[in-house]
C-alpha cells in the first residue's frame, strides 16, 4: 500500500511514497518536523473522496475502534423535520438546519444518528443543554449516551459534549466520531471554538440553529459544517406546530435623573462613534470596538456606551411595570428576561423571583426548574441562561425587560415561550424606554421574527 493516513492531535498524518503524490490531497502540506505530510483533521472526508475517485487504496488508520452502535429506536418525525433531514441528506450529510426554538431540532439530530448508525458527537453550548441533550437522545435512541463536560468524561458511540470541553479535547476525541452535530451552530464561524471543528475528522456534519449565521460567520461555517440547507422561521410554524403568541410593546419614560445620565453617556459615545462611521461606513460593531479600544477617547466612548446600557437595563418605570405585570399574571408561569445578571438579581430581590444564571449551581437550577414546571414557584428571571435551548414548556408569559444581543437573542427568547401545549397561547411583553435606543432596537427585533 502506497499511502497510510493516521490521526495526530487534531490533524492527519500522511505517510506515502512519492508516487502516491500525497501533496495533491486536500489540505495536505509537508511537515518537516515529523518528515511526512499533514492536514487539519476536517479534511478527512474530502481526502477519502479523492482517494476513492482516483482508485487509490490507502491504509486508513484514522478512526479508532469504538464499541458497536447499539440503539433500538428511531424517532418519529413531523413532516417539516423529515424535510429538514432530507435536505441535509441531499447535501451529502453536510449542512445547517435552521428551525425555530421549540420545533424539535433535537429530533432531527436523533433521526440522523439513527439513520447513519455511526459514532456521533453532539456539541452543545452550555452545561444545561448537555443535560438536556443527554436525556433527550437517551430517550429518543433508546440507549446509553455518553457525556463529556461538566465533570463527566464518558465517551460512548453517541456522546454529548460542551463546546468548551470539545475545544479542549478534540485533539484526543477527533477521530472517534463519524457524525458531528453542532447545536446553536451560530456560535461558530469566527472564534477560537472553530478549532474544535477543524480538529474533528467527522465526515458528516450537521449544524442546528434557530437563527442562521450572519454574513461574517457564514463563509467560515460553510467550510467547517456546510451551507444552510433548510430554514423555517417562527412565523412558519406558530399556531400550528408551535403555540400562537401575542407580542405587546409597553413604552415608558425615563426619570429625569435617568434621562440626564443616559443623554450624557449617549453624547459621549455618539461623538466617537459618528467619527468612526465617517471613516469606515461599512465597518462592523466589532471593528468599532477594536478601533475604539486603542485610544483614551475611544475607551471613554465604550465606557459611556456601557453606562447607557446600564441605565436602560432596568429603569424605575420598567421595574414598576414589571411588578404590575407579575401581579396581573399571577396564575401564569412567567419568564423574565434581562440584559445582564445584575438586573436579574435586582429583580429577584425586589419581586422575589428565582434567578437562573450561570452563578447558580446545576442542582439548584434543576430543582427550581422542576418547581417551576410543577407550579410551586411562579416566575424565573434570567439574563442569558434561558435564551438558548432551555426547555420550559410550562411558560406562557414572557416579559423582556432588556436585551443585549439583538435580533438573534430576541428570536430565541420568544421561541422559549412557544413550546406547544394544549390550548396554550403565549403573551410576550417587551418593555421599551421612550426616546432611547430601545425604540429602534425593538423595531429591528420584531422584524427578526418574520
Amino acid at each position: 500500500m502506497d499511502l497510510r493516513i493516521e490521526f495526530d492531535r487534531g490533524t492527519l498524518l500522511c505517510f506515502a511514497t512519492p508516487a502516491a503524490s500525497p501533496h495533491r490531497l486536500p489540505g495536505m502540506r509537508w511537515d518537516a518536523r515529523v518528515d511526512c505530510y499533514r492536514a487539519p483533521a476536517r479534511y478527512y472526508g474530502p481526502i477519502l473522496e479523492q482517494l476513492q475517485a482516483e482508485g487509490i487504496v490507502a491504509d486508513d488508520a484514522v478512526r479508532v475502534a469504538v464499541p458497536p452502535f447499539r440503539f433500538s429506536s428511531t424517532p418519529a418525525l413531523r413532516p417539516y423535520q423529515a424535510a429538514a433531514l432530507d435536505a441535509w441528506r441531499l447535501a451529502r450529510g453536510r449542512g445547517i438546519v435552521s428551525l425555530p426554538t421549540g420545533s424539535g431540532k433535537t429530533y432531527v439530530a436523533a433521526a440522523a444518528i439513527a439513520e447513519y448508525r455511526r459514532g456521533a458527537l453532539c456539541l452543545v453550548p452550555t452545561k444545561i443543554l448537555l443535560d438536556q441533550w443527554h436525556g433527550m437522545l437517551s430517550r429518543l435512541l433508546g440507549g446509553t449516551v455518553g457525556r463529556y463536560g461538566d465533570g463527566s468524561h464518558d465517551v460512548l458511540p453517541v456522546t454529548v459534549a460542551t463546546f468548551e470541553s470539545a475545544w479542549r479535547q478534540m485533539h484526543q476525541l477527533g477521530n472517534r466520531f463519524d457524525l458531528l452535530i453542532v447545536d446553536e451552530v451560530h456560535h461558530f464561524g469566527s472564534g477560537l471554538r472553530d478549532e474544535a471543528l477543524e480538529m474533528s475528522a467527522a465526515r458528516w456534519r450537521m449544524g442546528l440553529t434557530a437563527t442562521p449565521p450572519d454574513c461574517d460567520a457564514e463563509s467560515a461555517l460553510i467550510e467547517l459544517i456546510g451551507p444552510v440547507v433548510f430554514k423555517l422561521s417562527i412565523a412558519d410554524l406558530a399556531g400550528g406546530y408551535l403555540s400562537g403568541f401575542e407580542l405587546i410593546e409597553l413604552r415608558s419614560e425615563l426619570t429625569q435623573e435617568e434621562r440626564e445620565e443616559y443623554e450624557v453617556a449617549r453624547r459621549t459615545f455618539a461623538g466617537v462613534s459618528d467619527h468612526f462611521r465617517s471613516l469606515a461606513p461599512e465597518a462592523s460593531w466589532s471593528d468599532f470596538m477594536r478601533w475604539a479600544a486603542r485610544t483614551p477617547q475611544g475607551r471613554d466612548a465604550i465606557a459611556a456606551w456601557h453606562r447607557a446600557r446600564r441605565v436602560l437595563s432596568l429603569t424605575d418605570a420598567k421595574n414598576r411595570m414589571l411588578g404590575s405585570l407579575l401581579d396581573r399574571h399571577r396564575g401564569s408561569r412567567v419568564l423574565v428576561f434581562t440584559a445582564d445578571k445584575q438586573s436579574s438579581y435586582r429583580i429577584s430581590l425586589a419581586h422575589l423571583i428565582m434567578p437562573i444564571t450561570a452563578d447558580i449551581k446545576r442542582r439548584e437550577r434543576d430543582d427550581m426548574l422542576s418547581a417551576f414546571q410543577q407550579g410551586t414557584i411562579r416566575a424565573l428571571v434570567s439574563a442569558r441562561v434561558l435564551n438558548e435551548g432551555f426547555d420550559v414548556p410550562a411558560a406562557d408569559v414572557g416579559i423582556i425587560v432588556s436585551g443585549s444581543l439583538g435580533e438573534r437573542e430576541h428570536t430565541q427568547r420568544v421561541g422559549r415561550l412557544l413550546r406547544p401545549a394544549p390550548g396554550k397561547s403565549a403573551v410576550i411583553y417587551e418593555l421599551v424606554s421612550e426616546g432611547t435606543s430601545d425604540v429602534p432596537q425593538a423595531r429591528r427585533k420584531r422584524r427578526g421574527l418574520e
Binding site: V34, L192, D327, R330, L349, E364, T376, I377
Partner: protein, 417 residues
C-alpha cells in the same frame, strides 16, 4: 487569531519586532494606590468594589495597564460567603413562599419564621453566595506593588505568545521540564544542540502550526514562559501574529518576568499515589522520579520512574504511565521498544481505555490499572522477571547525562508518547 485583551495592548510591533511595554518601578505608585483601593474594600461585597473600579475605569484609569493590574489583584484578593443561613436553602424557602403569599413583606416574614432568622437576614442571605455578594477577603500574604508588576509582565509576555504558533528556545539547564511540558500538552518539540556552545535548542510548536496559530496550542506555548525562569539562562524567540501586526518576540533572563513556582514533582495524583505506595511497600528498591531519557529508535522517551535495586544497581527497571492512549499508540510504542531491544520498561495502561491484550508484546510487561496502580503487581514483575539486557541510559536534553551522537531529536509526537 487575536483578541483585544489589555495585556495584548501592551505589546507594540515596530519594524517586525514585538516590544512589550513592561511594568517598571515608575508604575509602582499607582499600583500601590490600586492595592490600597482593594484593601479598603476588604469585608465589603465584591460588587461594591466592582462599582468603585468601574467608576475608576471610566476615567484616566482605563488604560490597559490598569486593567491588567486589576486583573492580577482580583486573583490575590479572593472572596468568601458571609450569610446567616445557607443561601440556597433561603432561596428555596423564599421563592416557594412568595408563590403562595404574594405581598413581598408577607412572603419574607413567613420565610424568616420558617428559617428562624430575621427578615433582614433573609434578605441579606438570599443572594449571599453569588460572586457579586461575596465578601472580599484579605490576601494570604501582604501584596507589594513590585510583585503585582512582575505578574503583570508575565501576563503581557503570555498574551503575545498565545498568538504565536512556534517558539524557539535556547537554554542552559532545566530543559527537561520544558520538554516534559511540551509533551504533556501535545506540542511537537524538536531538540538540538547549539552550534556555538553546548546549550540545548528546543523548537516547540502545535500540530496545526503548519496551517495557522491556534488558541489551544498558543495557550500551551504561553505556559512555557514561567518554566523557563528555572533555567540557568534562556532565550526565547517567537513569531507572533498580533492584530496590529506580526512581529518577533524575544525573551531572556533580563526581562522582568517572575520566576514560577518550582515545577511540580508529579504530573498527576496517580503518579503521586504510586510513588507513595511504592516507597511504603518496599525498601529493596529505590524509586527515582523522572530518570534520564532513553534513546529509542530515532527519538527519546521519558520514563516516569526508574526503580533500582538497592543492593544490585544492575537490576534496574523503568516505568511509564500511559494516560489517554489508543491501540495504535500502544502498538507503535511497543514496536519501537522491541526494535531497540528495551525490555526493562514496564508500561502501565488505564483499563478504561481498552486495548486487546493479545496485541501487546509478551516480553514487555504491561500492567493494567483502574484509578490506582497496584504496587504489588509492579513488585511482582521487577522481583521475578529479568530484563533481557541492562538499561541503557540516554541523554538528558541539558546534557547532564550520557549523550547520543545524533544532534536532533523529536519529542511529543504520537510516535514517542
Amino acid at each position: 487569531m487575536a483578541s483585544s485583551s489589555p495585556a495584548l495592548a501592551r505589546c507594540r510591533v515596530r519594524d517586525g519586532i514585538v516590544l512589550p511595554q513592561w511594568f517598571t518601578e515608575r508604575d509602582h505608585p499607582w499600583i500601590r494606590d490600586l492595592i490600597e483601593t482593594y484593601t479598603t474594600f476588604v469585608g465589603a461585597p465584591r460588587q461594591v468594589l466592582d462599582e468603585r473600579l468601574a467608576r475608576s475605569s471610566d476615567g484616566p484609569c482605563s488604560t490597559p495597564g490598569w486593567r491588567i493590574a486589576a486583573h492580577v489583584l482580583d486573583k490575590l484578593f479572593q472572596s468568601e460567603i458571609v450569610s446567616a443561613a445557607e443561601p440556597r436553602v433561603v432561596r428555596a424557602v423564599v421563592f416557594r413562599t412568595s408563590a403562595t403569599r404574594p405581598p413581598r413583606e408577607e412572603a419574607l416574614a413567613r420565610a424568616a419564621e420558617e428559617l428562624g432568622i430575621s427578615i433582614e437576614s433573609v434578605e441579606s442571605s438570599m443572594l449571599a453566595d453569588l460572586p457579586g455578594e461575596r465578601r472580599i477577603r484579605p490576601p494570604d500574604e501582604p501584596v507589594h506593588a513590585s510583585t503585582v508588576a512582575l505578574r503583570c509582565n508575565l501576563a503581557i509576555a503570555q498574551a503575545a505568545l498565545k498568538h504565536s504558533s512556534h517558539v524557539a528556545i535556547t537554554l542552559e539547564g532545566h530543559a527537561r521540564a520544558v520538554v516534559r511540558h511540551a509533551k504533556l500538552r501535545g506540542l511537537i518539540c524538536t531538540v538540538s544542540r547549539s552550534s556555538k556552545d553546548d546549550r540545548v535548542v528546543l523548537e516547540v510548536s502545535g500540530p496545526l502550526a503548519l496551517f495557522r496559530s491556534t488558541a489551544l496550542y498558543g495557550r500551551h506555548l504561553a505556559e512555557l514562559v514561567p518554566i523557563l525562569s528555572w533555567a540557568r539562562s534562556f532565550r526565547l524567540e517567537a513569531q507572533c501574529e498580533l492584530r496590529h501586526g506580526a512581529g518577533r518576540l524575544t525573551l531572556g533572563p533580563a526581562d522582568p518576568i517572575p520566576p514560577s513556582q518550582s515545577p511540580r514533582l508529579y504530573d498527576s495524583l496517580l503518579e503521586q499515589r504510586f510513588a507513595r505506595d511504592f516507597t511504603r511497600a518496599t525498601r529493596d528498591w529505590e524509586l527515582v522520579r523522572e530518570p534520564e531519557p532513553v534513546a529509542v529508535d530515532d527519538t527519546l522517551i521519558f520514563p516516569d520512574f526508574a526503580m533500582t535495586h538497592t543492593r544490585n544497581a544492575k537490576r534496574r527497571w523503568l516505568l511509564e504511565i500511559a494516560g489517554f492512549w489508543t491501540t495504535g499508540y500502544i502498538e507503535q510504542k511497543l514496536r519501537r521498544l522491541r526494535a531497540c531491544g528495551l525490555t526493562n520498561l514496564i508500561l502501565c495502561v488505564d483499563s478504561s481505555r481498552d486495548c486487546g491484550q493479545s496485541r501487546l508484546l509478551p516480553n514487555c510487561p504491561v500492567i493494567r490499572f483502574r484509578k490506582r496502580i497496584d504496587v504489588t503487581e509492579v513488585l511482582a514483575v521487577i522481583e521475578t522477571q529479568r530484563p533481557e539486557f541492562e538499561s541503557r541510559p540516554g541523554p538528558t536534553p541539558d546534557g547532564t547525562a550520557n549523550r547520543v551522537p545524533s544532534s536532533r531529536r523529536t519529542f511529543g509526537t504520537e510516535h514517542d508518547g
